[in-house]
Structure formats: C-alpha cells, structure tokens
Symmetry: C2
C-alpha cells in the first residue's frame, strides 16, 4: 500500500457515536473506528473522546496525514473552528474545537457543519464532482442542506446558511421542531414522515405495510416503507412519490431564488430510490420558473456508507 | 454646477415608458426625460428609442459620462449585456443590448435585470449603504428581488437568481402567473393583492373602503387601501398586516437558506408604510430559526421617485 499519498482523518461527531476514518485523497477509507460520544458528560469529555479516537486511529500507522476534518452538528464557524449550540450535544455553548484538536495533535484541523461537510464530500468525492453549483439535501432525522456555488461552500453571513429543512412549503402547515410551520423537515424528517404515513395508513387497509408492522405491534419506519415500495405496494409507492413532490416544491423555491438547478439527495430516506428522485424532479420542474425548467437535475448522493467520515475528511482536501 | 464630477446615465426600460436620467455619483438626478417604449414594434424600434433618448439627454450638456446603465425586465446576462425573454417586450428573444448601445454611443454600457439594479441602487445610494449583505424586495405588479452578498450582486448560474416573488408559501395556495401555486407574488403582486382585499371586503361592510370605491363603481387599488389605513380603517390595516406577515413568512425561508437577515423593501406597495414593515418583521422573526431571529432588520428602500433610473445608473458606479 503506497503510504506516500495524501491522507486525511475524517471525524463524524454525532450525538451518540463519534466515527473516525483515515481517508485517501480519492475518498477511500483505509481504516476506521467508532467511539461513544458520551455527550451527556459535556464538551470536555467529548473532546477527550475525539482525541482518544485519533490516537487509536494513528497507532502503529505511517500514513502521511494532511489534516483532520470534523463534521459537527450546529452552527459552525469554519474560519474560527468553533461549534455553537449544537443540538444533541448538551453544554456546548461555544467550543473552539478546531484549535483544541490541532494544538493537542499538532495536525491542522478543519471543523464544518455536518450537512455542509456532506455537500463538500459530494463535490470532492461524489456526485457533485462535475458540477460547479448544486444544492445538497440530506434526509434523516432532520432535513439538512449545503449549498455549493462555483465550487465553493456557501456559508452566509454567520455560517448558518443552507438550512434547506426550514424552507416553508405551507405557512399553515405542519408544526416543525424549529417552532415554525410547514417547513419541509416537518414532512420529510424521519419521525414526521413516519407519522404522516401512519396517519394515511388507516385509509389503506390493503397495504402490505399493515402486515409488516403486524397490525401496529411493530414500529413503522422509513425502512419498512421502502421495503413495501420495492415489493410493489402501491400505497407505499404513493407515499414516497408524495414525499418527493413536496421536497420538489421546496427545491423549486430554492432554485428560483439561487438559480441553481442541480440537486443531490443523500441520507437514509434517499434509500427510497428512483421513485423518490423522479418525484422530486417532477415536483420541482412543475413549480419552477419556465426558464429554469430544462436544466433541472436530481441526483443521488454517491457517498453512502460512512458519508459522515468521508464528508468530514473532504474538508481537508477542499481547504 | 461642478461638471468635473463623475456622472452616469441611468435608463429604466419599462414595457410602456423608457425613463432616462443623468445621475451623479451620489445618486442625484441632474436631468431626466421619458420616451414611449413602443414595445409592440419590436426590439429594433425600442433600441432606436433608447438611442434617441440618450442623444436628447446629452444635447447641449457637458457632463463627464462615466457609463450608461440599463435596467431591463427579463433574464439579463450582465457579462454579455444580453436581455432574454423580457416580459412586456414582445419579440425580444435574445438581444445584445449592451453591445448595441455602447457601439452606437461610444460609451460603456452595463445592462442588468431591473430588480437586481434596484438592489445595487440601494447598496450604492440607499438603505443598503452600510450593510454587506441584504435581500431587496420590490413590490409592484410583480414581486421582484435582488440579493446582495458581501457587497456583490448574487446572480446564480445563469443570471436568473433572486426571484423572491416565486418563493412558495403554500404549495396548495393561490395560482401564480408563473404557473406555480402559492408564490408570494400570488398574494402581494398588485392585482393579486387587490383581488384578495376585494374578496375579504364583502365581510367588512363597515370598512371605509366601501365608500372610497363608491360601492364598487370605482376600482380598488393599493393606493386606496393605503389611504384607508392612514385614516385609521381597521379592515385596511389588518389587510396590510396580513400581507406583511405573508411576505415575512417567505423571507424566513430566504433567510434560513441564505443566512442573510437584512431585508430592504421598495416599490409601490411599500407605501403601506411602517404597518407593512413591522408585520414583515414580526412574520419573519416568528418563522426563523432561533439563532437568526435577533439579527432581523426590515428597512424601507431609500430610492423612491425614479428608483428605476437611479438603480440603473448605480450599475455604472458598481462595476
């Protein structure tokens, strides 16, 4: 194995686990491990966990490490390397994470919001390689986003840009965790999605989902909806199509505003496959200004497993 | 009058009139005139009207003209100086307006979309002077917009960015001229606004608007709504507040996406005054992500009369 290549450490800082990987310049993970975040014990313990993970990762290895990239939740100032008010990380007012890690390891450290890091990951390693500008949408517990304009991550005035999940599609619509109404996250975030499908399921006794959740004794999940759709369940397919169209409507607002027509979709719900992608495309195209319609592209993210590690590591090669 | 200063010609190319002005570097108009557009006769005749207007404007004057700025409807490539598919200008497929005007006059010519030019006008001469980033909203027949990021006009991939009017607030909402549903323009564009107020008026026999439109024999207009509100008519005030809140909801989507918190509002309906501005601010703040809420600023545009001429001329001083 050639160890003269450039490598980066990518760290995906989640609320439950911290995932670590050594990643090549081409986006291949050559070594990885995971540690408990121990988020409840506050930022000092979490930071120690990060440092422990890094030293275990490097133990006995001779990779030439170009830098460390950390993808973190919350508002991240990548200039200052600070993480602010991270959800799922109690006690994190404002933490100078980049400085702490680079001083302790002697390795340059770049910190970025996890959704933004995912967008940069797709630009450097994935589906965005050949596009100058695109919007990345990550479907998971929440709906995250990152905006790439002319091969640069767009951060906004204070580093908080790209909150695709909080584009409203209906001001009288579903209540969102953020306090607003009708945000696209209130339709496509995992629990919202499951709740919506669960409610509609009452009108669809013929759907195989009823059997799959054993009449309500097993919890419904995006995975089950996906499996039912693959098996041809028309209710499940229609639910996925509706979700896609709604996301498409939100993306039409985004595209009308930014004049960016390429959308890359990643995260768990993207497992809904082409049915989702095609309905996003049709929903978006229907609602876009005519001059933008012919340019719409909706692509699936390429970084799947360990997208968090790869996205974080891509920040090293990007900067 | 000192004629050694830098002057620009600003041209506001509308569907009915073309307005011309000689403008100082401080945004003062020292001479102006207007000509019929003669839009129905096609781009050649319109271009001749522009050239006639310029030569009449300069006749007998010794101002040192730094350049010509044209604000035009439609998608404008400011790099190429082309105007494409301008609404209200029949027959304009793609016209190299900048080149034609600069070759005929020997003066540098910058062409920009009129809503974008209004945003640059506010940045150079008006309410945006002291802000690095803001979103300009122009309320008129349509709802136009322009985005300033770090003192630069944001154009998007193909020059079409900033279509604030086509941000959806309700995907099941009012039909918009663009073909989509629930665009903010379908609530606040002049005719939509008037239609909405007219419909609600049936439930408000006590409103003085009924007398002002003589029981329906005179047409309702934004001007009448504004006058009724100023006179204390609670129905008119509530209609303006509702309009402001709806615009605020759209701006929350914009601000969540761009992390830009300063909004400048111009155009006719901005005559609704502080009632409008304050309700935009409260609607927007209610719906924004918490970290962005404290930074919201909603300002009134400073370029009022002849904003079109001034905005167009500002492109000369900007570039």
């Amino acid at each position: 194995m050639p160890k003269s290549d450039n490598y980066a450490i990518g760290i995906d800082l989640g609320g439950t686990f911290i995932k670590f990987g050594i990643v090549t310049q081409k986006g291949k993970i050559v070594k990885k491990l995971s540690k408990d975040t121990r988020a409840a014990e506050g930022p000092k313990v979490v930071t120690k966990q990060i440092l422990k993970g890094i030293s275990e990762l490097l133990e006995g290895e001779k990779y030439k490490i170009h830098g460390i990239g950390i993808g973190a939740p919350g508002v991240v100032s990548s200039k200052k390397g600070t993480v602010e008010n991270a959800p799922n990380l109690p006690g994190w007012g404002k933490v100078h994470l980049g400085k702490i890690i680079s001083e302790a390891t002697g390795i340059r450290c770049v910190v970025e919001n996890d959704a933004n890091a995912a967008a940069v990951g797709e630009m450097i390693f994935g589906a965005g390689k050949t596009y100058d500008s695109f919007v990345m949408v990550t479907l998971g517990t929440g709906v995250g986003g990152g905006i790439i304009l002319n091969r640069k991550l767009f951060k906004g005035e204070f580093g908080a840009a790209g909150e695709i999940g909080h584009i409203t599609i209906d001001y009288k619509g579903e209540k969102c965790n953020c306090g607003s109404y009708g945000c696209i996250e209130a339709y496509l975030g995992n629990t919202h999605l499951v709740d919506r499908v669960q409610a509609e399921l009452e009108e669809a006794p013929e759907s195989m989902i009823n059997r799959m959740i054993a009449g309500g004794t097993r919890p419904l999940s995006p995975q089950i909806i996906s499996e039912a759709a693959v098996a041809g369940d028309s209710f499940a397919i229609e639910m996925i199509k509706e979700s896609g169209r709604l996301l498409g409507y939100a993306m039409a607002s985004v595209s009308n505003l930014l004049d960016v027509s390429t959308i890359i979709i990643g995260g768990g719900v993207a497992g809904f496959g082409n049915t989702l992608l095609e309905s996003v495309k049709s929903g978006m195209t229907q609602r876009l200004l005519k001059s933008l319609q012919p340019r719409v592209k909706v692509l699936r993210a390429k970084l799947k497993n360990e997208a968090g590690i790869k996205g974080a590591s891509s920040m090293v090669f990007y900067k």
